[in-house]
Assembly symmetry: C2
Homo-oligomer: 237 residues x 2
DNA sequence: CCGGATCCGAATCGATACTG
DNA sequence: CAGTATCGATTCGGATCCGG
């Protein structure tokens, strides 16, 4: 038994020993979005030391969470195994709980494509969405631009091709026209997702700005993507 | 922003910064069972250095997860705030995922009352239990003895009064008679909870030993307390 | 005994530089 | 691109000590 073991025979301990080290779950978070190269991960986690990234990837492979896959021509990607993908419910629970503690960003906090992708997956409510018309949202938040396609009770999150707001200058508006609602927002979007403001209030307070589409769709957006600020503990304990 | 910050504006990061440090979630795990004194926590986590326990408790208070409550006469207990209790779904997800990676215990791994209590909460299936007759189980696993009272779709886990198997010598069998099934088991109980063996097979392989009650109830136990070895990832991503 | 605080060696982490 | 090597800064772990 390693000196760094928690020394208990318990599922929680086993989990923490496999994915509880610093940075490990953030690597998993990004890999839940899709396979990533070493450099992608490094870019998505700018403050991770490269030696730690390397070490964690080896540990995650040893734990059977991550797999190394050679790419067709050259290079390679890391991807989650089935066991790694089974961490998704845990990741969503973590993001949901953390949402309730988010304040305003520190001056040099960054926002990444993968973290926002998982954030929208976290707040997505399939049951509610299934009762609403299919809708496509385009959300710009800082340097990140995402396309959210709600289709029945399922959600697909993709980066907007061409990046944030650099389209349109040469007439390539095909995709933008695709979205029913195009939003530009900042951290204040939390208020909308937490249900602390209505769509109209969010626009009024300039928490979000509607670039295209019917502003009334903002309330549908808020119903679809919602996190309770004070999640109720599970019953039956 | 601290040098130890992950530097991202993201719910997962916020959560990890509040409860992602070493030992923090194990403290929360034990507090999910009930309020605990400093010495209780130290006992339940024998390998935690006392300075770390002290530091974590302060951090968890700063994060609004834990509260310090003076006791009636003297002493004090730590207890979870509402926000701390909201970590229960996360904890169950962690325990469930970790269950699938548990092997046999290391020679000096220990088992504690609180970790086993959370383990049974993790594997409890309210929906299944509601379809089955109410049942009371008494489970002895190493030094730990628990009483599991399944009542409709809810579960109550309590330590067996008097501790493990020291009752009976003086005729105090009132509580034991209360249980419909009394089990003594070791790590092999995993096989039963994972559904890899039937109740009869578990007895045959000596994974569990039935001290009292109808051995046929073992299958009801396995239906009630069950963890899928390969949990399916959530859909809709 | 309870609830910590203090001290110190060992291990880990973070930042930067460097290599196939 | 995909890491390894190195080294100072932190944190962790283990033990001891202290006040009530």
């Amino acid at each position: 038994m390693g000196a760094r073991s928690y020394g208990q025979y318990c599922g929680v301990v086993t989990a923490l020993e496999q994915v509880g080290e610093r940075w490990a779950l953030l690597i998993v978070r990004d890999l839940l979005v899709g396979p990533r190269r070493y450099g992608d991960l490094k870019n998505g986690l700018p403050r991770i030391p490269t030696n730690i990234l390397s070490k964690r990837l080896r540990e995650l492979q040893d734990a059977g969470v991550v797999r190394r896959v050679p790419l067709a021509h050259r290079g390679l990607v890391y991807e989650l195994t089935d066991r790694g993908r089974a961490l998704e419910p845990l990741m969503l629970a973590l993001g949901e709980w953390g949402f309730g503690a988010m304040g305003d960003p520190d001056p040099d906090d960054i926002v990444t494509l993968d973290s926002m992708t998982m954030a929208f997956r976290t707040s997505f409510r399939p049951g509610v969405a299934a009762e609403l018309p299919d809708t496509r949202y385009e959300v710009h938040i800082g340097p990140v631009a995402l396309n959210l396609a709600v289709d029945g009770g399922s959600l697909r999150v993709r980066p907007v091709a061409g990046g944030p707001l650099v389209r349109g200058v040469d007439g390539d508006l095909a995709e933008e026209a695709d979205a029913d609602l195009v939003l530009v927002c900042g951290p204040g979007i939390r208020e909308l997702i937490a249900g602390r403001v209505t769509g109209a209030e969010a626009i009024e307070a300039e928490l979000v700005s509607v670039q295209a589409g019917d502003p009334a769709l903002l309330d549908r957006f808020a119903q679809t993507f919602h996190v309770d600020s004070a999640p109720a503990p599970a019953t039956g304990g």
